[in-house]
Every structure is written in C-alpha cells, then in structure tokens.
Subunit: 270 residues, 3 copies
C-alpha cells in the first residue's frame, strides 16, 4: 500500500497517482492533499497524527517550499513503514512515532532510546521539472520503495544511507506543577488549526484531568469532555483526538473566537 | 466494499481509511467528506440520494454534532447494504430507500409496508477520544460488519438488535391540485444547496410536467428541462437529478439569485 | 482502470463511483473533481497535462455546460487509452497526446500526421435526468468501454464510429525571433490559474532558456528555475511542470500580483 499526502490541492495529485500506477499495482490511498500550504511543521504534525493509523505502508508525503533547490529527497524507514519526502524534516516526527509502534496520544519529545529510524537519500535522476517533484521524484521513489520492500531499501537503485539529514522536533509545552504534582500553568503554542476552526495546541491533554475551567491567555473558559458540554456557540477547552489541549467552540470556529492562529503562544492557568 | 462519508473535511478522513485498512482488505470508496457540517438532515438527504447508486456495501457515515455525548452508535441493515452511523437519524432515510431497492426519483414519505430496515446497536469499547468517533467507533465497526457480512450482524461482537433508535423522516411537500388533478400550488422547503449553488427542494419534480413557468415565492420563473433552456445568467426552475424541483441559474448560483438557503420555505404557484 | 474527472465538486462524484462499481470491478482512481467549473478549454488543458501520466486506462471526464441539450456523448480512442466525455472538445487535446504516446512538455498544435484518434458516438438510452449525465450517461459508458476493452469498442452496444465530432485545439502562442534565432517577444494567453495562484500560459518554456529577466505585459520580472530563486513574496517567471511559462510568486499568488486571470493576454518581451 502507498499513501499520498501533499499540500497541492487539486488537480496535481492526479499526476502522482498516475506515476505510481505506471510503476506498481500497489493499492493507493490518499491521506490528504490539503495539508497547510508550505508549512512543513504543520504538515509534520498532521502526518505524525495520521500515518500511525495505517497498517505498514509506504507513505509519500510532499510539503516542499524548497522544491527545485538542492535540498535532498529522503526515504525514512520506521519499523514496517517507510516515508518518502523532501529532506526538510517533514517525515521525521511521524517516522519516530511509527518506529515506536505508537498510535494516538500526545507525544513527547523524541528520546535518545527511541527505536531507530533509518534515513536514506534518494539520488534522483534529473527531474522533468523544477517545481513538481511530487510527480518527478517522490512518486517514482515511493513506487520503487514499495516494490523493493521496506526491509530491502538498499536494493533500490539510487537509494543509499544518508550521511546527513534535516531533523525536526515539534515544539513541546512546559507545564508547571505544584508540590502535589497538580498543574499550575502551562505554556505552549498552537500547532495547527483544523478545518472546523479547532485550535490544536502542543499542551498534553492530561493537564485537564479533573479540571473544570482554565484560563486561556487570561480568559477563563470551561473545560469539557466534548463539544456538547457547553451550549452551541460557546467556547470550551477540551482534549482533542490527538491527545492535546484544543480551544474550540461548540458548532463554531475556535480560531476566530479565541483570536488564535498557527504558532500563536498559549498560556493556560489552572 | 466500504464507503466513507462524513462532514470532516481534510485531513481527518485519512484516519478512518487507516483504521479500516488495519482491520480489513475491503475496497474503500469515498462518498464525500464535505457533507454540510453538523447538519444531520442535509446529510441524510445526500446519503439517500447517493448510497443507492452503489452495489451492496457497508457504508460508514458520520455527521455527528453529538459526538462524545451518550448518543448511541448504530448499524442499520437495509437489504444487502448496511449503514454504520451515529444514532441521530442520519442513516435512516438512505436505509429505507436501500431496503426498498430503489434508486433515483423523488421520494415519498416512508410507508408502513416498506420492506423493513433492522437497526442494531454498537456497544463500542471506551473510545480513545470524545471528539473523533469516526476513527474510534464507526470505522472499526464498519470493518467488523464488512468482514462478518451484512446477513450475519449478530455474529459481530458488541452488536445487538437495538431496543430503540432515533428515527428521521425528511419533510415532504404539500401539493394542491384542482378538480382535473393539475397542480395549483405546492408548499415545501429547501433541503440542501449544492456546490453549484443549485437550490434543491423537497417538491417532487412531477409537478412541473407540462408547465412552462411557475411562481417561486411570488416571482414568475421559466421552467426548463436543463440549464441551457435559458440564457446564461438567467434563472430557471427544473427537475434535478434527484427528482425534485430545483431553483437554479444557468452558469450561476441559484441560492444567491433566488435568495434561498437551507430550510427556506418554498411556495410554488402554477 | 477507470479514472474520473469532473467539475462537480462534492458530493456528486460519489454517484459516478457507485454507478461504475455496479457495472465493473475495474479500479477507480480520481483525477480531480475540481476542474474549473463549466470551462471546457481549461478542463481540456488539465486533462492533456494529467491523463498521460496514467498507464492505459478508460478516462471518464465531464465538464459539460451543455448537459441536457442535444450535444452528443463520445468515446475517443487514443492508443491504449479511451476518454469518455461530452462531445464538446473536452477530450480531444488529451486524446491527441495520449495517441502520440507523449507525456509532459509543452505542446504544439496538432499536426496532420499525428497518430490518429478515433471518435465514437454513444447512443445512450434516455437518461434518468437532464442535469447529471455524469451519472446517467458517462459513468455507465466508461464501465462498458472498460469491460469491452479499448480495442473492441465496436462490440459495445450503442457505441458506433462518430460521423462528426466537436474538435478543439488549445490556442498556441506566437514567438518572434531575431536573425540568430533568439526570442525577441512572445504573445500568448493565460490557460489556467492553479490553486496556488500560479498563472499558467501557453508560451512554451523553451523561450526562457538562458534568459535572466523578461518583460511581462510591460513590467520586467526575473526569470527563475524555481520559486526559491527569488525572495519570499517576490514575483518570478519560470517554466512550470507542464513545460509552459508560468507567472508566479514565491509563497504567494501570481494571479493577484500580476493581475492576470484565465484567458488574459500575455506579452513577453525579452
């Protein structure tokens, strides 16, 4: 199976599907082609959230503001999975989680003893274009990696262990606790806004255990288990499906009502 | 085959695809993930229109403003099909039509002698999240139902006949006729606006047979067989592909030109 | 394999998927359902760009402002491919390229000695609707053509060689060269704007070889190999992945910054 993810929007992903299908009969499933445009960090967040839901697969992921420059292309082996991506860090947080065999739940800074990921460089032939490496570089590499098998990457022409690669760690929040271990405050930031307008932060959801309300950047907001815990149109803070604190509105847009955007700082006071 | 429908927009449906694929090799086809957000009635309309186009399948459909509350999850068996959905009525109109083996054409209130649907309750284990039951409840249930087979739902763990369920009947229009049986007027409402801006009502299209123009909420508009029957930019009333009266503009948006939105009342005078 | 392309947006393509799957087990892959709405020429441009990326397939393509009129439906055989489409020219540029076995790169007016395309008329039974021939005419025909095989179209009921069909040639640019063969100026037009806001013209990219800057409609703009050759927010002219001159902004919208839209005239002075 090969999954496809990008920030291309329609209709460019069709070219990737065709290129893959010319080379292999592997099943094709879309992750999304509406990842936040040009935002490697947000793409890395979504991939870390979504790719572990799939069974072992080759994932072809492209958010690539440096397309056409001399940034390299990589294949990251992570357990039974492989992620083919530009060498800009996009694949790394997802690969670390895939290698650890974990699915949902908040994460955690990478630790030294995480099961390893292995990064390979793709020595692609001269691409047909300088602006569409999704078609010219990544899709062909994903097909080749799929057919060679994740355990036999060295057998793929033009793939060799990378001497170096761009690492990426998603930022982690700081939680201050009192002597009893209860959270007093947390400082983090907004990772992504989803299409509902839900504001997804990097503060691990466990800080909300047993908490009835919390100050978000100075304003007290009720904590709910789900949207329906507040009236329609009202704000709430909850734990999202990725395990992090979200700032939401029941049947409305949290980003607008909280005045928050991607990378906004978040301070929670309990 | 498993079809997926939701109001999630990107990228959440990827998690549903992955969860299904971890459990079964069934073919995956998308219905749409852009159903009108949080609008159970509109979702039910679209599902009733679209699901009967498919051969026998398990349909996983999620429009779920009550996610995380104690609303139940159901599997509705309808002929050779099954629809897995929240217990909010979303699946019922489509299931009734699937059970009747009918495809297009306007519908009709459910009748007492419709072939039965059978509703089963899903006793899901504690979901990982309170806000993404598409991933945590409905996708796993759809995979399990698929592999057990629609005729053997009772064999699926944690699925049992529902003692009760939320019914939903889409509203029907009232047509007044004269002594000769010709329509004099019709009163209904707008069911959905499609992405073209076409205004889809619940008035059965047959009322337009042999009619050259009709008053829509007080303004006379020509009746056409298709868009090209009026000049570009002009309004028309026609019978849509679902069999209902539509208020459209040739190469334009009917909702804007008629001033109509979802649930607007419609009065037609012939 | 059957590919699906349309300008329908969600959720109508689901009906096409279902109709095809009721008739055949062929793999289904989406090209895009967000082709520019009602714009046959733009749809033809995108199909010519995208369909040659696929291995031999039956392509079902619908951009059909004349739906419900007496415009015919056609199957165009092109090498090992077939394109099922309304008879409005939509399929022709892609079919010519498929027949020639060419993929990317700028094209060229059709020439007399191009390998032939063969156009067949579909004598569809009375469709269920006057407004959704994607479901009622084109999807069933694509399934039938797939199962009969592209080489045996005459064996398909209701398909016969067309006596006549609507041809479509995409406009070509004019390039003036000096005695040394270097381009002095080029006059063309905008073919499509993509979702990034990139302005894709019909001027073949080769005119930019060795050129450092060019006047676009009177304003001098740097020529780059890729976006990163200019600062973020700056304009550039480059060769797109389809082989034509594009007017772009690094991390921004070219259409807005150049003030260009679909069909805008373009004059380049070197």
């Amino acid at each position: 199976m090969i999954t496809l993810a990008s920030d291309f929007g329609p209709p460019y992903p069709a070219a990737m599907r065709g290129v893959v299908r010319r080379r292999t009969d592997a099943e094709l499933l879309d992750v999304s082609h509406d990842l936040p445009r040009g935002d490697v960090r947000a793409g890395a967040f979504w991939l870390r959230f979504l790719l572990p839901e799939f069974p072992p697969a080759v994932h072809c992921a492209v958010v690539d503001p440096g397309v056409g420059t001399d940034r390299a292309a990589v294949v990251v082996r992570a357990g039974d999975h492989a992620v083919v991506a530009p060498d800009n860090g996009l694949a790394i947080p997802a690969a670390r989680r895939l290698a650890a065999g974990r699915r949902g739940g908040p994460v955690d800074a990478p630790t030294e003893d995480d099961p390893g990921i292995a990064v390979f460089a793709i020595d692609a032939p001269e691409p047909d274009s300088a602006t569409f490496h999704g078609r010219d570089v990544f899709a062909p590499a994903a097909a080749d990696v799929h057919d060679a098998g994740v355990d036999d990457l060295a057998a793929v022409d033009r793939i060799a262990p990378a001497e170096d690669y761009v690492d990426l760690s998603l930022p982690t929040a700081t939680v201050d606790r009192n002597a009893a271990g209860e959270p007093v405050s947390a400082v983090g930031e907004v990772m992504v806004i989803d299409t509902f307008g839900n504001v997804i932060t990097n503060v691990p959801g466990a800080v909300l255990d047993g908490v009835e309300s919390v100050e978000v950047n100075g304003e007290r907001v009720p904590v709910g288990e789900t949207f329906a815990d507040v009236d329609r149109g009202e704000r709430l803070v909850t734990v999202g499906s990725h395990g992090y604190v979200e700032c939401d509105v029941n049947d409305g847009r949290g980003d607008e009502r909280f005045g928050l955007g991607s990378r906004s700082p978040i301070q929670l006071v309990f």
